[in-house]
């Protein structure tokens, strides 16, 4: 096999592929990238993990057809260091593969290409397109709520729920739930379709989506694929039923609070300085036309800040994990945010003032177990100090 690439194009392809390859795998072949040249001017780089697979097509001059595997990390690290404006030739010599660029030559061990798992062909049941930018936006809003580890396997991915031309993506770790909506374009929009897309695939997508162009999405009952330009991702879906998220979304609210986002986010950041691992929550206290942001911890002291707010439904105190708040506020669009709540211990919703397409259901933190009367005290004190 002998294939010639432009260095820049090869680096781009190798980057996408090596990110999927898994050096920790018990199957050594999964730490390899398969380079395949079977057309005259197109080569493909393929990498696989247990669930996620990627194939990148890279323009190339295939001088001798064939296929070869290269160790993903070494290969990528090497080609990345080649002069980006030159050509590079990959060829097999016996058991070795050599990568030559001008006077630079690297030689690495290879594994039999026949051992590389076969790319599973997929029969799509549902296909649609959407702007890469839109998918990116959805992922930015949802991905941080999808846990890396959880006993409940179904939570280890995001729910893709399609109702006609509306895509709803949901992620939750059991304490915070993100919900983001986008419109899709499909020739045959389905009445109803659900699938859980694994976190790792979403991470890979998030890294490679662009502001322009379309992404073609395809589902069947077991698999999902995303094609963005010359990159094709194919993955198994997470098996099982996603929890009925609609159940945890409150439908009616007794209280509504309107706050300017940038000052609130800044206040939360400041408050976070006064929290520690044990006291990792901040208290929001709405009173009159103000919201007080409070934090305290044994080690670091106390914090108090007041911001203007529009309070509907009376005075209210509620505490949240400050990390959740930061993440939520960072990813909510628009300058004004809305907190909808009922009781200090029931789920609350954070959303953008004017946007219906994204919201978060956040479970408040229960600050110690005291009666309501007792609960007033520490914060009354702190208010006095402030």
């Amino acid at each position: 096999m002998r294939i010639q690439f432009k260095v820049a194009e090869l680096v781009r392809g190798a980057e996408v592929a090596q990110s999927v390859a898994n050096p920790q795998s018990t199957m050594p072949i999964l730490a390899q990238i398969l380079i395949k040249g079977d057309h005259n001017n197109l080569a493909s780089l393929t990498a696989m993990d247990y669930d996620v697979r990627v194939r990148v097509e890279v323009p190339a001059e295939v001088e001798t057809k064939g296929q070869i595997t290269v160790p993903a990390r070494t290969f990528y690290d090497f080609v990345r260091e080649l002069p980006s404006d030159s050509d590079v030739v990959i060829e097999t010599k016996g058991e070795k593969v050599t990568v030559t660029c001008r006077d630079i030559r690297g030689e690495m061990a290879t594994m039999p290409a026949e051992d590389f798992p076969i790319w599973p062909e997929m029969e799509p049941k549902l296909e649609f397109d959407m702007a890469q930018k839109d998918l990116q936006e959805v992922l930015d809003r949802v991905l941080f709520t999808v846990p890396v580890r959880d006993m409940r396997k179904t939570l280890l991915g995001a729910l893709f729920e399609i109702r006609k031309t509306q895509l709803t993506v949901v992620g939750t770790d059991g304490k915070i739930l993100a919900c983001a909506r986008q419109t899709i374009s499909s020739e045959k929009p389905p009445k109803e379709f659900n699938a859980i897309v694994p976190r790792k695939l979403l991470e890979e997508l998030d890294r490679n989506l662009n502001d322009e162009g379309l992404v073609s999405v395809a589902f069947n009952d077991k698999q999902v694929s995303f094609r963005l330009g010359n990159i094709l991702y194919l993955s198994n879906q997470v098996e099982g039923n996603y929890p009925d998220y609609n159940q945890v979304i409150p439908k009616q609210f007794a209280r509504k609070f309107h706050i300017q986002k940038p000052p609130l986010l800044a206040a939360i950041r400041r408050a976070a300085i006064f929290t520690d691992q044990r006291q990792n929550s901040v208290m929001l206290e709405f009173r009159g036309d103000k919201v007080a942001i409070l934090a305290d911890s044994y080690d670091r002291g106390r914090f108090y800040e007041e911001l203007p707010a529009v309070v509907e439904g009376g005075d209210f105190r509620v505490a949240f994990n400050y990390k959740f708040l930061q993440d939520v506020l960072k990813s909510l669009p628009h300058e004004e945010v809305l907190l909808q709540a009922n009781q200090p211990m029931t789920p609350a919703i954070w959303r953008s003032e004017s946007a219906e397409d994204c919201f978060y259901v956040v479970m408040p933190v229960r600050i110690q177990e005291r009666t309501e009367v007792e609960e007033q005290q520490p914060y009354d004190e702190s208010e006095g100090e402030a």
Binding site: M151, R152, T172, K175, A319, V361, M363
Partner: protein, 646 residues
């Protein structure tokens, strides 16, 4: 028929046999009673010779001896020199007081006593057969008392039949003597079976040396001194570092006013003080003497005086708990790797010779000690017996064999129980230099090593996504990321268990299915879980629902915690008291909430972990008792690379 049901007064011989059954249940009881008598007699040396499957027992001492005119009374029941009035029971300073020992022994064995009082010219001999009047006559004897018991239980065939194997009887005797020897370092002890010396310790040893001699040389690096007192209660002794733990409680030696006792609550309290430092099913090694006014303790609870009652048990337990805990908290428990080979036989031999030497050379070396044991032989005082002399070389060989066997057993134990201890003998720092480092110096030493130049160790990277490699000044620090984080969480949780907890209610509660036999346990533990921030509700059947998690452990694997606790409680069975289960919950929560082995960490994460663990006071082992970090000092590295020759 009527005749058989008549009430009779039993003959004295039968009464004695029955009574003997309470005190003399096995050869070890004989040894115990005789050794206690010897100790009470102010002996400096006590030699115990065993033969005939431990049924022949001879205990010789150089104590005050018995006056010839008192000798006939010695075998009478309730004849004693140790108390006069009932009130004396509350002021006891002696081991014995009932006046039952010799009478009981005489009822079940042939007995010869040869004795000479200190300062008297002539001695006396008593010979007794069960059921017969003892014969007392004048005889030449060394100063002290020599009691020879033969054919134990020959007239009680049932008891004889129920004796355990000679080996286990011997083991019990050794255990018994060890307990006495541990608390009386001023007295020399020798135990020989069929003329093989099994145990030998010189008189006038420093207490710590005595403890090391009896627990094995390895103990030398691990014994921390314990001291505490409150309101007239003094606790003194030693507690071994967690690395020197054992798999049962036999190595927890308790003494009250110098009297060896067993006390379940004391043992529990000690385990509690070690909580979090020992792996499960491992038991701390301690030697603790509790001194308190004699009227504060009742030793007359059990015929063998094994058990005692304290007037103010809670206070005593409290003092012990605090003393042990302070000793551990102050100690440097940071393990280091010993890359050098373990101490060779040369060093060992030196120790042995010095340990045995007193015997051969005592006359010259220690003029204060009366008598010359080397002259003593196993001769029958009346009939001139056969046994020969103790030879130094034999003693040394026997002792070495014994020690090596112990060592082998120890190694085996440690291999079986943990792979951590064996491959590169991990031992705590700071106890090699001085025999009893004060807690503060040990702590300072650990701090100095870890915080070179006032800086926290700097993490260099991760090995196998499992260990953090850090530079601590010129030393190399290896940290088990999971164990270290687990330790931190455990300490946080423990601290927090005292106070109210912020909880993070779950949007999506977690359901957990448990084995049916675990349902009552979890129901019983609901309050404990709640106190720790886990709201567990019974959903019906075998299903539980977790409604909230501790706010500071939002990503804890609740199902895993619940299952672990269930497993623990099933394994513990009925013995699992609520308190230990509560601690297990903490341990499991820490484990499930901690960074996993195999998890990649950023340098910042590593830095934080290193800082936290160095700042923590007792962070050198994880809650399961595994070490969290290992330190390779510059000196060790140098030696290993042969830059310096050790």
């Amino acid at each position: 028929m009527l005749q058989e049901h008549m009430i009779r007064i039993l003959p004295a011989s039968l009464v004695n046999k029955i009574a003997a059954g309470e005190v003399i249940v096995r050869p070890a009881s004989v040894v115990k009673e005789l050794v206690e008598n010897a100790v009470d007699a102010g002996a400096q040396r006590i030699v115990i010779d065993l033969a005939n499957s431990c049924r022949d027992i001879r205990v010789r001492d150089d104590g005050c001896g018995i006056a010839r005119e008192d000798l006939p009374k010695a075998l009478l029941r309730h004849a004693t020199s140790k108390i006069e009035r009932f009130e004396d029971l509350w002021q006891l300073r002696t081991r014995g007081f009932r006046g039952e020992a010799l009478a009981s022994i005489a009822a079940v064995a042939r007995l010869t006593i040869l004795t000479r009082q200190r300062g008297e010219l002539a001695g006396a001999r008593l010979q007794s057969e069960p059921g017969q009047e003892p014969i007392v006559e004048a005889a030449g004897a060394p100063e002290g008392t020599d009691v020879w018991v033969r054919d134990l239980f020959f007239n009680t065939p049932v008891r004889l039949k129920f004796l355990k194997s000679p080996a286990s009887e011997l083991q019990l005797i050794l255990y018994m003597v060890t307990r006495q020897a541990l608390i009386r370092p001023d007295i020399g002890f020798v135990v020989a079976n069929e003329r093989d010396t099994l145990l030998e310790v010189p008189p006038q040893q420093p207490w710590r040396d005595r403890a090391v001699a009896l627990l094995g040389m390895e103990a030398d690096q691990h014994l921390l001194s314990v001291e505490g007192h409150r309101q007239g209660i003094h606790v003194r002794g030693f507690a071994a570092a967690p690395a020197f733990s054992r798999k049962d409680r036999r190595f927890q030696y308790f003494f009250v006013n110098g009297r060896p006792i067993t006390h379940r609550m004391l043992s529990n309290v000690v385990q509690q003080a070690y909580k979090g430092l020992l792996m499960t099913q491992r038991f701390a090694v301690v030697i603790l003497n509790i001194e308190l006014p004699p009227q504060e303790v009742d030793v007359n609870v059990h015929p063998t005086k094994e058990e005692v009652r304290f007037r103010n048990e809670a206070m005593v337990l409290g003092v012990v708990h605090r003393a042990v805990q302070e000793s551990l908290a102050g100690a440097n428990l940071l393990p280091t790797i010993s890359l050098s080979s373990p101490p060779g036989p040369e060093g060992r031999q030196d120790e042995l010779i010095s340990a045995s030497h007193w015997f051969a050379h005592s006359t010259g070396a220690r003029p204060t000690v009366p008598g010359d044991f080397t002259q003593w032989t196993m001769q029958t005082p009346s009939a001139g017996g056969t046994p020969g002399e103790h030879e130094l070389s034999r003693l040394v060989a026997a002792q070495r064999e014994f020690d090596l066997a112990q060592q082998a057993q120890r190694n085996q134990e440690s291999c079986l129980n943990t792979s951590v201890e064996s491959p590169c003998s991990v031992h705590p720092l700071g106890q090699q230099a001085s025999p009893e480092p004060s807690p503060t110096t040990a702590q300072a030493e650990a701090q100095a090593l870890l915080l070179s130049g006032g800086e926290y160790p700097e993490p260099l990277g991760q090995v196998a996504d499992c260990y953090i490699v850090a530079r601590a000044g010129e030393n190399l620090l290896l940290i088990d990321q999971h164990a270290a984080h687990e330790r931190l969480l455990y300490m946080q949780l423990r601290e927090r268990a005292q106070e109210k907890v912020n909880t993070q209610p779950l949007l999506l509660p977690v359901t957990v299915d448990v084995p049916v036999e675990a349902v009552p346990t979890i129901q019983a533990l609901t309050r404990e879980f709640t106190a720790l921030g886990l709201h567990v509700e019974h959903f019906g059947g075998t299903t539980f629902v977790v409604q909230s998690v501790p706010a500071d452990l939002p990503s804890i694997d609740v199902g895993g915690v619940l299952m672990d606790v269930v497993d623990d409680s099933l394994a513990l069975g009925k013995e699992g008291d609520l308190d230990s289960l509560r601690d297990r919950i903490l341990t499991r929560m820490a484990c499930r909430g901690a960074i996993k082995s195999g998890q990649k960490l950023s340098l910042d994460e590593m830095r934080q972990l290193v800082r936290d663990i160095v700042d923590s006071r007792m962070g050198f082992t994880c809650p399961h008792g595994r070490p969290t970090m290992i330190l390779l000092t510059r000196a060790q590295l140098d030696r290993q690379f042969k830059r310096v020759v050790s």
